[in-house]
Symmetry: C2
Subunit: 211 residues, 2 copies
DNA sequence: CTGGTTCTAGCACGACCGTGCGAACTACGA
DNA sequence: TCGTAGTTCGCACGGTCGTGCTAGAACCAG
C-alpha cells in the first residue's frame, strides 16, 4: 500500500488512475451544484456509464469519496485562484490580485454551481465531522493568506496604519462570497461585478494616498 | 375541503393543527442544520415520536413539507427580523435597524444552524425548481426592502447623493451573510461582531456629515 | 348512544442507498 | 505461455426513502 514509486515523473497513468480522476471530476461538478452530501455512488456511476461497484472500488467508502472530492476541489482552487493571484507582488497588489482571481474564478464558472467551497461551507458549517473540519481548515488558510498580504501591505506603507488587517480581509471576502451566492441564485453575472466594485472601493479606502 | 370557517379568531387549535405546527418547528430546526434536502419524513417522525404516516398525512408529499417548512421559516424571519427592524423610523435609522435585527437574529441562534435562508439559499441556488424560486423571491424581497429604505434615506438627505442604493445594500448584506457563515462554521460569535462593525462603518461612510 | 369527521398507526410497495464478495477481463513481467 | 496484479462487473444484503391504503382511535353533533 505504501508508495513504492521512485519516479514521480509525468509517468503514464494507468486506466485506474484515469478513471479515478474522471470520477472525481464528475463528483466535483455534481457536488458544486447539489452538495457534497447529495453525492451518490449510483448517481456517479450512471453519469459516468460504469457500474456502481466500479466507482465504489476506487474509494471503498462514501466518506472517502467525499473527502477526496474535497481535496480535488482544493487543487482546482489552487490552480484557478491561488496560482494566478500569487503572481502579483506581495502586499497590496497581491491582496487585490487574490480577490480578483477569486471573483474571476466565480465569474468564469469553473464549477457549475459556483464556488465549490462556498457550497460545501454552507452545507457543513453546522455539521461536525471530518468534512466540517477540512472546510474550516481551508477557509482559515485562505483568510490567513489574505491577512498576511494585508499585513505585508501595511508594513510597506500601502495600507493606512489604522486599518485592522483581519477586519479588512473580512470586509473584502464578504462581497466576494455574496457575489458568488447571488450570481448563481439569479443566474446573473452582474452580481460578480457588484462584488468587484465593492472590493475595489474598500481597498481604495484602506490604501494610503487614496487616488 | 374548502375553508368553511367563518370565524378566523384565535380559535382553539385542534390536535391536528398542533401536531402540524410541531412538525414544522422540528423541520425548521433540522433543516437549518442539515439542509432542506436532507429533511426526511422518517427522521422527523423519529424525532417527534410519531409514526411516519402520522407525519406524511399532514403534507401528502415531501415537496409540500419542504415548501411549508420554508414558509414557516419565513414567518419566523418576519417576527424576529422584520418586525423589530421596522419599528425604527423610515430611512437611515430603519436601514441600520434592519441590519442590526438580522445580525441579532443570527447571534441569538434563533435557528441552530444559523440563518435558515442563508442555508437554504446556498443549498438551492444552483438547483432549479419551486424551492429555488421561493428562495429567490424571498431574497429579492428582503433586498428590495433594504433598497427602499436606502432610497428614502437618500431623499431625506441622510445618505450622500453619490451613493448607489443598490450597491450600498449589497455591501451591507455581504458582511452580515459572511458573519452568519463564519460564526456557525467556527462556532465563534465574534464573527457576528465583525459583521456588525463592517455594517456600522459602511453606513457611517455613506451617511452625510460623517460624525 | 349514535354517526361522522379528524387524526394517527400499521403495513406494504418499489426504488435507491452504501457496502461486500467473487468472477471476468486486461495488461504485463517471467 | 503462464501467472499475477490491477480493474471493473454482476449480484446480493440490509436499510431507508417517499408514497399509498386501510383500520382504528379520538372527538364532537345529534
Amino acid at each position: 500500500m505504501e508508495e513504492r514509486r521512485a519516479e514521480e515523473q509525468p509517468r503514464r497513468r494507468s486506466d485506474g488512475e484515469r478513471t479515478h480522476a474522471a470520477i472525481l471530476d464528475t463528483a466535483m461538478r455534481l457536488a458544486s451544484v447539489e452538495g457534497l452530501g447529495s453525492l451518490t455512488i449510483g448517481r456517479l456511476a450512471k453519469e459516468l456509464g460504469v457500474s456502481k461497484s466500479g466507482v465504489f472500488a476506487h474509494f471503498r467508502s462514501k466518506e472517502r469519496l467525499q473527502l477526496e472530492t474535497l481535496a480535488a476541489a482544493g487543487e482546482v482552487f489552487e490552480r484557478e485562484v491561488l496560482e494566478p493571484g500569487l503572481k502579483a507582488a506581495p502586499g497590496l497588489a497581491r491582496l487585490q490580485a487574490l480577490c480578483e482571481a477569486h471573483l474571476s474564478y466565480i465569474q468564469r464558472g469553473v464549477f457549475p454551481g459556483g464556488c465549490f467551497f462556498a457550497q460545501v461551507l454552507a452545507e457543513y458549517d453546522a455539521v461536525s465531522g471530518p468534512i466540517h473540519d477540512e472546510v474550516a481548515d481551508g477557509q482559515g488558510g485562505w483568510f490567513g493568506l489574505l491577512e498576511q498580504e494585508a499585513r505585508t501591505a501595511q508594513q510597506a506603507g500601502e495600507l493606512a496604519a489604522g486599518v485592522d488587517p483581519v477586519q479588512l480581509v473580512f470586509e473584502l471576502a464578504a462581497p466576494v462570497e455574496l457575489a458568488n451566492y447571488l450570481s448563481v441564485l439569479n443566474r446573473d453575472p452582474r452580481f460578480v461585478e457588484r462584488g468587484r466594485r465593492a472590493v475595489r472601493e474598500r481597498l481604495a479606502q484602506a490604501a494610503t494616498s487614496p487616488a
